[in-house]
Amino acid sequence: MKSLAELAAIKEKMQNKVVLREGSSDTRVVVGMATCGIAAGARPVLNAFVEEVGAAGLAGSVMVTQTGCIGICQYEPVVEVYEAGKEKITYVKMTPEKAKEVVEKHLKGGKVIDEYTISKV
């Protein structure tokens, strides 16, 4: 190790791997992963969220996690976004492509994509 830059490079590379363990994010993205959700394709959606959140450099502030059946099985895959001090947003009939968009516009840009939410379906 000859310089601080070398150390910083290792830290940078590893950051995403340990940041999951902080467990206290301001924003939580919860993907419904009960039998109905999985059957409707929730897993690719979940993985897309994990990937896109990481790629957007939001892993430190956004937690992507899963939950069981919310009870609106006909709308699966369902994704809920909880933000501190804001109302919960429920996205329905999600796909990996829509997930990417949500990360881009909502989580990064702060703008809810109305047409994907439950109130517009």
């Binding site: 190790m1 000859k2 310089s3 601080l4 150390l7 290792i10 830290k11 590379k13 590893m14 950051q15 791997k17 340990v18 999951l20 363990r21 467990g23 206290s24 994010s25 939580r28 919860v30 993907v31 419904g32 992963m33 009960a34 039998t35 999985i38 979940l46 993985n47 994990v50 990937e51 990481g54 937690m63 992507v64 996690t65 899963q66 939950t67 069981g68 909880y82």
Partner: protein
Amino acid sequence: MIRSQVLICGGTGCTSSGSVTLIEEFEKRIAENGLSEEVKIVKTGCFGLCALGPVVIVYPDGTFYSRVQKDDVAEIVSEHLLKGRTVDRLVYSDVDESVKEEALHVSLNDTTFYKSQKRVALRNCGVINPESIDEYIAMDGYAALGKALTEMTPEEVIQTIKDSGLRGRGGGGFPTGLKWSFTAAQPKGQKYVVCNADEGDPGAFMDRSVLEGDPHCLVEAMAICGYATGASEGYVYVRAEYPIAVARLQKAIDDAREYGLLGKDIFGSGFDFDLFIRLGAGAFVCGEETALMTSIEGNRGEPRPRPPYPAVKGLFGKPTTENNVETFANVPQIILKGAEFFNTMGTEKSKGTKVFALGGKITNTGLVEVPMGTTLREIVEVIGGGVPNGKKFKAAQTGGPSGGCIPASMLDIEIDYDNLVAQGAMMGSGGLIVMDETDCMVDIAKFFLEFTVDESCGKCTPCRIGTKRLYEILEKITNGNGTLEDLDEMEKLCHYIKENSLCGLGQTAPNPVLSTYQRFKDEYIAHVVDKRCPAGVCKNLLTITIIEDKCKGCTACSRVCPVGAISGSVKNPHVIDPAKCIKCGACIEKCKFNAIVKK
């Protein structure tokens, strides 16, 4: 892409309760469910809640599973990892009700065990994989060493440690910055840094936990100390009884060498430092700094008189700085975050946090780290979960064989170095053994003294012979043969040993006796005058009798008695022959009618 991580404790406690097979089972089940690409298993160091091991934490939600058995793994994988439903029956649920209602999920930090804790020395324990230098670096590891070497002079490093108010965590509480400055003040030349990892107090295991859970932290701190004091070599003296700790520390040293974080010209600063492990064979006296260095040198571990102090003439006759593991574990954080970070926690004269090993009659056996000045009540009743089985708290023993007892009346004492000493106890390395009403204080004193008699190295007479004589007096008392003169003699001998012993072992050995005698004099008197053990522990002072009215004559007791001391015919009250009875208590446990009592 990893979306979830399963942290499984690989500390000594959880390893012995089966965490190794858990890891294998998790790997198998995760592969079966096709989750290998999404879920990662991380073997970590100790989480602290050893009583509930094996412990498993699932991130990102931080769900805390306790006492996980091999058969539970399939359910956790298919329910939680695949479908996102926590397995509630395994979730550690000692959580504030208010939190439970509000939270979207219950995580580790919400439990009463963790909530009041403040983790500095243990910050990475149970969080990172101790065998991965990269994970340590990701948690700001080696950034403090980088900062010290590239931005600070050795004097500035020492000043920061001084300003932080850090004091030695191994027992004495000597100011660490001051200690470093003594070695730094010696003329240039070969100097050493030594880490005392010879954790010998019965029941204390915080140093083991740091070595097992965050070994790089020690490597980094010792290198910082080397830079500050002008030393180019360090030795870690660790007990051979800690095989997991030794293996992980050796891997940490090897990895640090490979990354050039040990060796020549670290961070291009021109500073060279290397580190070596020396194994101790488990002699308690080798935790004494001069005996420890004598042992590293290859000689029989015996203390030598001070002065000269190690800072002047230490290891191999060269100036040496010696600190305990927990002391070092605080150093990188102080350098990185500044003295303020540390000295704003704690009390006026004891800064920062302290790790305690909770043991004895307490619900949450394990390791806790709290700010100095936390009350004993909070540690025992809140974090520790109180005394189990509805028993009453009697006293807490701190400081191991060198320490003393704090009685129930002092539960609200704010724990720091000086308050404990004022109460006739001491911080020691932080062992905290809780005793309830069924513990006899004379017996406790005898237990600790038996330990020091065994561990006295024999070099000086007051310790070698004095502790033995003291033990004999205690034996006489617990056998029911003690007199009031014996008590006076005992007290006198205690003071004599304290004043005349060569090293800390002898100087503190009588403390458990003095402290229990001072706090629980009535128990000593009861043993001597009434020939009675109030707690019902000392066998020679007990009689076990059958209450005639309650005995139904079922013969269960006479059948279980190993020495045939109980006689009587079916459906008639039985009797115990006191001459034959060995007071094993087997009959009491067997009796369904509570007809047998010990007094």
